[in-house]
């Protein structure tokens, strides 16, 4: 179900894959998803689970302003798992992001775990770390937040059919590769993807950069709640800081992308965490459905 390598490369079938190195610095990331922790297979399809395993890793590459190049996918699962269905989703995400599966492993296990590693490249410019935000920088999100948590909530309530776009945000999250590259081209000073929730992830950026954060607004996706936008997580939109908002607008326009949403700015008080007139609440994704 997975594509064959070009001439000169060896993918699946030898001890290791042999590939042409991508351009520029290497980006390396690995994340795993566990059935019952990162996805409830009573609510989403096994193909969605496979998609998600790849997409969350691609999102980490996107958050550096990089491009995914190669994926390694290892699966541990109980005998009887519908592997073709799982790999259908893995393959679909791999195709979508131009990141072929060049190797991996398969083992029996009592739990279903899909572990992905991705090799990406920075291209011709340095990647965007979390640590470069400066006081005065504007803060953007590439899209409204809370959709994934809202989608999960509606699925649990049996109301998924009412909001397919939120269900999709949960079941088949999108990695914002083009947006990350546009942000980097616009001189983004720091960037992170929203995996734990806006409140937690903006803190990661602020702490790494040693800046304060003042948010003026929380863009909420569809029928999500503000709480879901702040603490739901798994949206995989990108949050980034940039010194010149005009460059950001121009870069996203040039790339044909939806404009990012300005949500606040960085300050010189490295302990400041503010939302409007109050404190930015502490909230983060808690694997809430886990027993």
């Amino acid at each position: 179900m997975l594509p064959a390598p070009p001439a000169g490369e060896t993918w699946i079938g030898d001890d290791a894959a042999v590939v042409v190195p991508p351009v520029g610095g290497l980006l390396l990331t690995a994340d795993l998803v566990v059935a019952g922790v990162h996805a409830d297979l009573g609510l989403v399809d096994l193909a969605d689970f496979g998609w998600k395993a790849v997409a969350v890793n691609v999102s980490d590459i996107a958050a550096m302003g990089g491009r995914p190049a190669y994926a390694l996918v290892s699966v541990a699962g109980p005998v009887g798992v519908d592997l073709p269905r799982l790999y259908e989703g893995i393959g679909a995400a791999s195709d979508e992001y131009g990141c072929p599966v060049v190797g991996g492993d398969l083992s029996s296990s009592d739990c279903l775990v899909v572990s992905v590693a991705i090799v990406g490249d920075t291209g011709d410019r340095p990647p965007v770390l979390r640590s470069g935000a400066l006081p005065g920088d504007a803060v953007f999100t590439t899209g409204p937040l809370g959709g994934s948590a809202a989608g999960l909530r509606l699925l649990r309530e049996g109301l998924g059919a009412q909001a397919p776009e939120l269900v999709s945000a949960y079941a088949r999250p999108r990695a914002r590769v083009a947006e990350g590259r546009a942000a980097r081209a616009a001189g983004a000073t720091a960037m992170v993807d929203v995996s734990d929730g806006l409140s937690a992830d903006i803190r990661h950026l602020a702490e790494a950069s040693g800046v304060g954060i003042v948010l003026d607004q929380v863009p909420v996706a569809g029928r999500a709640t503000v709480e879901e936008a702040l603490g739901g997580g798994e949206d995989y939109e990108l949050i980034f800081s940039a010194t010149n908002p005009g460059h950001v607008a121009a870069s996203f326009a040039e790339a044909g992308l939806r404009q990012p949403i300005a949500i606040g700015h960085c300050t010189s008080d490295s302990l400041e965490r503010r939302l409007g007139d109050g404190d930015l609440p502490l909230a983060g994704w808690e694997h809430e459905w886990r027993v």
Copy 2:
């Protein structure tokens, strides 16, 4: 517990690690180990389990004649797992093979799974695939076999103290990186590591190369049995074919390595699988202790 990056690189702590690309073509491999499948934690220490997760991946790079460069380590496990102990073994193997852990993930799960991906490099020569063996090539192993299976057997019988070197072969297998490089330098035409057992792994090499195999001897480690050497697996010695045995001897001598053991040769009858006067038995590692 893990080392910090050199200037100019970013390892753990951002969305993805940023590293300098290694020399030559990239080698990519990923394997995971599952507690109760790949190691019995009633018999070996958690640090050994961590070591093994890294070493089996390094072995795949060794089997290409490559060098490991960077590791990504993702762990899914139950709350309460002694992570410092696990990472002690991961860190020890990472140090041993000069392959720093630059990223990864940590998640809760009912099963303990350690998933490793390694990026290696081929250096200045093409890697050794499984598929290049030629009729007439000599076949070598870098060491006697069956030690890992024998070590496990003795541990189960409560006799581990009698054969620490066999226990160590099971609990802390060695990846043969220097040997793989010496074999490549000697013009090895095909190579594979012994993970499933000599009988199965030499078949992998023969099938990929389209050659027959005639084995004259089975080098058996210590108190192991011939059956363990043929079918035990997890020895992580390398098996390779080479056209010029003199080059092999010289290359291993020059590298200061124990001479590999000539165990047979390749033939032009691609279906031939012979051991001495009889058929090479079908045998392979079966996760035999799994309930």
